[in-house]
């Protein structure tokens, strides 16, 4: 059995613990582990794309926390939190250990198994009943992060950190080549790591933080024609010739280097307020080397040739100069009245270049006459700059009797400039130039609390002069309201609502969108051991854009409609002999996507002795589509766990 990095690190943590002949008493902990069984009927791909809970051993939770009880010479703070390590799809672990004034160390780990094999997305063959689509993947992401602080809380605190993010997996994808799309088997692996060091300087009224990191990323990707996929998606001939692939392969290696500098300073102005400033600089560079080769019966419209093979190399690089700065002041001008204002500016200046050299073999013209090999060279240099500036001022009056009030105004200015090349690489159209947008935002809120009644209302209005992207709005208004009645121990009720309306009335855009969302919860506790819970949510959304269909240049509406609800109910019963939790719910959506999901959950915990109990859990999900029904599934999971509590 191969010992993973996680295991080694947790083993190290455990060894630290066993240094505790110095420990004076038991460390409080909570541990739950066992096995989960999974049974899926129907489209298991869709189950895995949505839920992906796997069968296998599972460390559901582990918490260990020691304060003064663990007065070891090595540490006076220790906390470990572990959640769902084992059978996927996601798990996390965190270790915090330290000794006051000496050191503080934090390590976290997270793991995600991601799966996607959807019947109706990116699937040109759906009408033929072929599922899933042509883009599927099963990937794994592992993220590690560690930070060590020496002399925390002191005048000078050195800080060392390291982050590692590994993303890898097999996938299926497609490539467009020679007049058709062909399915590929892909394998890729990208790691992204950043060692960093810095310090915190605290002189009392002035605190400064500085951190320098070096982000390095390395990614490799290999793609090969999927066996049996040589016919491509298009079964028709092109210019009278069948299009097919005999072989195809592609490799790509990308390296990225980004030194990241972060600095911040806080100046405390007595009891009056404080001034804060931050600065970030991240100048990145990427370099990509790649190859592409294949044989087939293909066509190149730009060269007006049929060809029987290709061989290409690519060298590309990108440079991005990013910086971000902010300054902010906060002041307490009256008791409970705070004023704040600040300025943030973010700048991105990016250039890119590519040299792509492709040789087309065995060429012939459209009349069928053999012609020499063709060498195509594409040399692109592009550039863009983007600047975002935000000014905001606000006031908070924290207590006016039972009321609290707040108001914020902000002005955002966005500026994007594109060079000629980057603007015309897809379809010539004169897209280069400068794009600007200014947004004024007003945001206000009021809260009220008295006698167990809590009311919360918020209003926000965004007003922009124009759009940069066509999907940008020029006007958006948001209302939110929340009411909670928490006056009695046996009954609690709350409700929320959100109303959003947005539009862009610029000529040629004329888009509108409305979003409504309502929710309500009722908790009833007729006896202290029993809680009944009911909740309902309803939502609608409706957005419309006029779009131009490329095949006939007709203007048609792009409509997105959602109209759905959820109803849930559940109970929690805590008795000496056992605890029981059960819930059930239905979620339904109509509109652009029609489906229904039924979910049921149940769990019982039976104490065997004071510190030990057995846990059994059951979960059932049924997903039903009302149009295509390719993705329908039902899935049940049964988990049996041992639960040990010692705190």
């Amino acid at each position: 059995m191969r010992i993973s990095k996680l295991t080694r690190l947790l083993l190290a943590a455990a060894l630290l613990l066993t240094a505790g002949p110095a420990l004076s008493q038991a460390i409080p902990m909570d541990l739950e582990l066992g096995y989960r069984f999974v049974n899926v009927a129907g489209n298991e791909d869709m189950y895995r794309s949505q839920i992906n809970e796997r069968e296998g051993f599972l460390l559901r939770s582990f918490t260990l926390s020691a304060g003064n009880g663990a007065d070891s010479k090595l540490f006076d703070k220790l906390r470990i939190d572990v959640s769902d390590i084992g059978a996927g799809p996601a798990g996390a672990a965190k270790l915090e250990i330290g000794k006051s004034g000496i050191y503080s160390f934090r390590f976290s780990y997270a793991r995600w198994q991601m799966f996607s094999a959807l019947p109706a997305f990116a699937n040109p063959l759906l009408n033929q009943g072929i599922v899933p689509g042509q883009h599927t993947w099963e990937t794994l992401r592992n993220v590690y992060d560690a930070e060590l602080q020496i002399l925390p809380g002191g005048v000078f605190t050195p800080i060392f950190g390291y982050t590692y993010n590994l993303y890898s997996g097999p996938s299926y994808s497609t490539v467009y080549v020679g007049g058709d799309e062909f399915r590929l088997n892909q394998s890729f692996k990208t790691y992204d790591e950043e060692p960093r060091l810095g310090f915190a300087l605290n002189t009392g009224p002035v605190a400064v933080n500085f951190m320098q990191g070096w982000r390095v990323s390395h990614g490799t990707e290999t793609s090969l024609l999927t066996p049996g996929a040589g016919a491509g998606n298009n079964t028709n001939t092109v210019l009278g010739q069948p299009i097919s692939a005999i072989s195809y392969s592609r490799t790509s290696v990308t390296d990225v280097n980004v030194p990241v500098t972060t600095a911040s300073a806080v100046v405390q102005l007595g009891c009056f307020g404080k001034i804060l400033g931050t600065y970030v600089r991240a100048n990145g560079a990427s370099d990509t080397q790649g190859t592409e080769a294949g044989d087939g019966n293909w066509v190149d419209f730009a060269a007006a040739r049929f060809f029987g093979g290709l061989n290409s190399t690519v060298n590309s690089n990108a440079d991005a100069k990013n910086w971000r700065g902010s300054a902010r002041a906060e002041a307490t001008v009256l008791p409970n009245l705070e004023l704040a204002g600040g300025w943030v500016e973010r700048s991105r200046d990016q250039t890119g270049s590519e040299l792509l050299s492709t040789i087309l073999y065995n060429t012939k013209n459209y009349a069928g006459t053999a012609t020499p090999n063709i060498t195509e060279i594409l040399n692109i240099n592009n550039g863009l700059t983007r600047t975002d500036q935000v000014l905001d001022i606000g006031a908070i009056y924290r207590k006016a009797g039972p009321f609290g009030l707040r108001f914020t105004y902000s002005h955002t200015k966005q500026d994007v400039t594109l060079s000629e090349d980057v603007a015309e690489i897809i379809v010539p159209g004169g897209q280069s130039g400068e794009y600007e947008r200014a947004i004024n935002t007003y945001d206000a809120g009021v809260t009220f609390s008295l006698g167990g009644v809590v009311l919360d209302g918020e209003w926000r209005n965004d007003d922009a002069d124009q759009a940069i992207l066509r999907s940008d709005y020029t006007s958006r208004t948001t209302w939110r309201a929340r009411l909670t009645l928490n006056r009695w121990k046996f009954f609690r009720i709350s409700g929320t609502g959100q109303w959003v309306s947005q539009s862009n009335t610029q000529t040629g855009i004329d888009s509108t969108g409305t979003f409504r969302q309502y929710g309500g919860d009722i908790d009833i506790m007729p006896i202290s051991a029993l809680t009944l819970r009911f909740s309902g949510n309803a939502f609608t959304s409706n957005t419309t854009f006029p779009i131009l269909t490329p095949q006939n240049l007709e203007v048609v509406p792009s409509i997105m409609i959602e109209d759905g609800y959820s109803l849930e109910g559940g109970l929690s019963l805590n008795l000496k002999l056992f605890t029981l939790q059960a819930s059930g719910g239905e979620f339904k959506n109509k509109g652009s996507v029609n489906f229904k999901i039924d979910r049921f959950r149940g769990g019982v915990e039976v104490p065997i002795i004071k510190a030990f109990s057995f846990v059994a859990e059951w979960a059932y999900d049924k997903y039903t589509e009302t149009v295509f029904m390719y993705g329908d599934y039902s899935a049940s999971r049964v988990g049996l766990y041992a639960h040990w509590k010692a705190f």
Partner: protein, 326 residues
């Protein structure tokens, strides 16, 4: 595709190690030198013994005790002088009970600056940055959850009765806690078909949101390089790309994706990929918008052309294909 039984490498060893950690008697051995009972001369503990004993495991106690503070002084740091309260036999009117906004005021005496340890007793304005935490900072006084009569520090944190399995002295697990005021958002995580996995094993609300962050910005965290929290995990989409797409040029990830949960595959804002793409890639005269050139020849009435990402696979940015083909 068959369901396989997963037994990740080392998981059994991990379980054994954790059990050993918990069970090995060595952990529970008495210290070589018996320590004095820290509560022995405490006036507060003479009446509030259970609370005082439990508080020994509290980070507040730990931090101040390490600096030589006596137990009673630690209690009085928040509750004010307890002399009259004790002399009156425990009259509740003579001690600061720290309910509601008054409780928050006591917290804010130290925690006026967002940071891991922002205790003005030990470090007046806080000096302990964690990754990215101070990029877009605000204070607890003006943040999104700035204390008001309707919401205060003690609505989320319990100084004396925090749930053991919830860190940061939270009164209950984070997702349940956030749901008490944001039920529709949490219900979406629970109900919608395509979601970020939040809660057990997955990310937390605070993976992306700074609960004490600035007003009006959804309290979104930024990476150390000032990017949206999305690329903190999805690092391969950071670039820089030779041929970037929307997120790097204008807009951001949310131009195409819903951040919490969605009814649409890949958490897109719209289920039909072609319509989503054409919302931007359409030129109807009038306003000049970025990327508005319409595609040529594509017949989006046919399934083969309607799924733009079938060919434009490198939709988040490419280093080799101007058309984002690869």
């Amino acid at each position: 595709m068959r369901t396989r039984i997963y037994l990740p490498g080392g998981i059994l060893l991990l379980v054994v190690v954790l059990l050993l950690v918990a069970l090995v008697p060595g952990l529970t051995l008495a210290a070589e030198t018996p320590k004095a009972d820290p509560l022995a001369d405490s006036v507060c503990a003479s009446c509030h013994g259970d609370q005082a004993k439990a508080f020994l495991n509290n980070p507040h106690d730990r931090t101040l005790a390490a600096k030589g503070w006596r137990v009673d002084a630690i209690c009085e740091a928040c509750h004010g002088s307890g002399t009259k309260h004790a002399e009156a036999g425990g009259d509740k009117a003579l001690i600061n009970g720290l309910k509601g906004l008054a409780g928050a005021e006591a917290c804010l005496k130290c925690h006026n600056q967002i940071g891991d340890h922002a205790c003005s007793i030990c470090s007046p304005v806080g000096a302990k940055p964690s990754k990215g935490a101070l990029i877009d900072t605000a204070s607890h006084l003006t943040g999104a959850h700035a204390p008001q009569p309707a919401v205060g520090c003690l609505d989320c944190h319990s100084i004396h009765s925090a749930t053991f399995t919830a860190p940061k002295l939270l009164v209950k697990p984070q997702l349940d806690l956030c749901e008490s005021c944001h039920p529709t958002t949490v219900a979406a995580f629970r109900n919608k078909p395509f979601t970020h996995r939040v809660g057990r094993g997955g990310i937390q609300c605070t993976s992306c949101h700074e609960p004490h962050g600035r007003q009006g910005k959804a309290g979104l965290k930024l990476t150390r390089a000032g990017e949206l929290a999305c690329v903190g995990c999805h690092a391969e989409k950071k670039g820089p790309f030779v041929f970037p797409h929307s997120g790097d040029v204008a807009g951001d990830c949310m131009s195409c994706h819903q951040p919490h949960a969605s009814n649409n595959p890949h958490m897109l804002v719209q289920p039909d990929a072609a319509q989503l793409c054409l919302n931007c890639h359409t030129q109807l005269g009038g306003a000049k918008t970025l990327g508005a050139q319409p595609p040529s020849i594509h017949n989006v009435s046919l399934a083969r052309w309607r799924n733009c990402t079938t060919c434009h696979t490198a939709i988040h940015g490419s280093n080799r294909s101007p058309q984002l083909f690869k």
